[in-house]
Amino acid sequence: MNTATSTLAQAAERPAWRWKKALASRAAAALPMIAPAHALVLTVLVIPAFYVLWLSFYSSTFGKAPSFVGLANYSHVLGDPYFWRALWNTVLIIVVVVHVELLLGLGMALLFTSGVPLKRFLLAATLAPYAVSEVSAAAVWRFLFDPDAGPVTQAALALGLPPLEWSINPAHGLSLIALLSIWLHLPFTFLILYAARLSVPAELYEAAKIDGATAWQSFRRITLPLLMPAILLAALFRYIFVFRIFSEAWLLTGGGPARTTEVVGVYLYLEAFRFNAFGAASATGWVMVLVSLLLGAGYLWALRRQGAGRGH
């Protein structure tokens, strides 16, 4: 009897046990508060995503019972030249858009911190495109670059430059999509880099100046290394988001002419909602998910590294 109670007492004293109990009570306290956020994410994102995985192994269309086809949808998509074209276009757009944004954003961040005239107004102007919807921006783009009468086309002709024949030339169409995407998202990339630059202590530059460092040296040795985590983060963030590009392409070229300017998002949309090939669209969807997770693994890895660098 005595020994039994003492063992119980000992068990209660055991830190692991207490720890587990504390954990359980903390879990009970946290659960109702994190429940709404998780309920949204589970019902709208996670369950549908797995349903798409299931769909991708079935042949299905509206009003027909789905039948299991194994990997046929995947082999269909991976054997479809239009898919590869769309993927290639997407990769091209990603490479151009993300790197141009980073370069311009970094340049602007440095320009802003070095002191610019009309700073407040300039910051407001820089952020303005962030407020413009993809639809309105695409409308303006179609107007400015109208092949016959658009102001930019006219200006190019007046300067003796070849105009963008974006409605007939795929390369021009893709350039226009990339340009629109950069215009819409540069404010965001710039803000991330600008905020990172603002958090670099000014003393570092003063110390470097005292030591006789040139502007280039302090950029190379202070700015760039200290901004690297933010640059990496912005880059991966944008890789993931440009990979799912849809609206800019859909609203500007609709994938045309003759499906030459499709991106993966547009390809998926057409398969699903125009050709009613839900199986093939689902397989495309899961290819997108896997690529996104791969990019995301890089993002999380960068996040961890940045966290470690900050010391938490």
Binding site: A27, A37, V46, A128, A139, F143, A195, S282, G285, V289
Partner: protein, 283 residues
């Protein structure tokens, strides 16, 4: 002498280069918007004038046409407003609660569930339209405000939670402890102490959701058709008539859709910067 000259040139060249850069940034950012707004008040025949006409007699004709012939646009604006408000309330409420839990309660599985919220955000929106399209039709949610509110809220609740956690981390824990001594429950603490002090974070989260929900195209395109159609979708329909785009009316609609959100972004600039840096840098 030569070095002196060089220095003088450098002194002049730096500000000149800066002014040039400033000018380029201004042109790049504002010219498309200026064309949109200007063309909306230009008489029809002047919109495509070569070279572009900077002086013209402004007219409100396109706005009158918009009002008389595109009633669906104003209905779309109302829908956009309802959906934006709903999604924002939902995101702010859900992410303040979750952010509070993640900030105050620690545990390995909680960390994992926070990570889960981020990882899930990697799923491309277009992928989940496939199964949701059928389900939404099946349960009769097609073309309703609710479906867009839920979708928009879901796509920002992860970022919202992470942001709120960062902001709530900056509220001293001693305040919670003092309230707990007085016997306050966690929900009382959240409502009485955290909510008023985390307003800055809630504003930052709202800015992101509001801009996204007001402008979103893909989900509105797939899940709404008439009743719950948002303003961007109506604008895309105006653009869709390939051979007969009425540019003046189209730009009038774009301008009406843009002005409120543009003013809002400019007004909330500070919170936008605060949101991107988790409140670490005061814009």
């Amino acid at each position: 002498m030569a070095t002196n000259n060089g220095k003088a040139i450098k002194k002049l060249a730096v500000p000149a280069g800066k002014w040039l850069a400033v000018l380029v940034i201004l042109l790049w950012s504002l010219v498309p918007i200026a064309f949109m707004v200007m063309s909306s008040v230009k008489p029809g025949q002047d919109i495509f004038a070569v070279p572009p006409r900077l002086t013209f007699t402004p007219t409100l004709q396109h706005y009158v046409d918009l009002w008389t012939r595109w009633g669906s646009f104003f209905h779309g604006l109302l829908n956009s407003f309802i959906i934006t408000a709903g999604a924002t309330l939902l995101v702010v409420a859900a992410s303040t609660m979750a952010g509070f839990a993640y900030s105050r309660i620690r545990g390995p599985w909680l960390e994992r569930s926070a990570m889960f919220l981020i990882v899930v955000r990697l799923l491309p929106p277009i992928v989940i339209t496939l199964p949701l399209f059928g389900v939404v039709n099946h349960i009769g949610l097609n073309d309703t405000h609710l479906v867009l509110i839920l979708l928009y809220a879901t796509f920002f609740v992860s970022l919202g939670t992470i942001l709120m956690r960062t902001f709530i981390d900056q509220i001293p824990y001693e305040l919670d402890e003092a309230a707990m001594v007085d016997g306050a429950s966690r929900f009382t603490i959240l409502w009485r102490i955290i909510r008023p002090l985390a307003r800055q974070g809630m504003l930052a989260v709202s800015v992101f959701v509001i801009v996204y929900a007001w402008n979103e195209f893909l989900f509105a395109f797939i899940f709404t058709s008439t009743k719950a159609k948002t303003a961007p979708l109506v604008i895309s329909e105006m653009m869709g008539s390939l051979d007969g785009v009425e540019w003046g009316v189209l730009f009038a609609a774009s301008t009406v859709q843009l002005i409120p959100i543009l003013l809002f972004v400019l007004l909330m600039q500070k919170h936008l910067v605060a949101g991107l840096t988790g409140g670490a840098v005061k814009g």
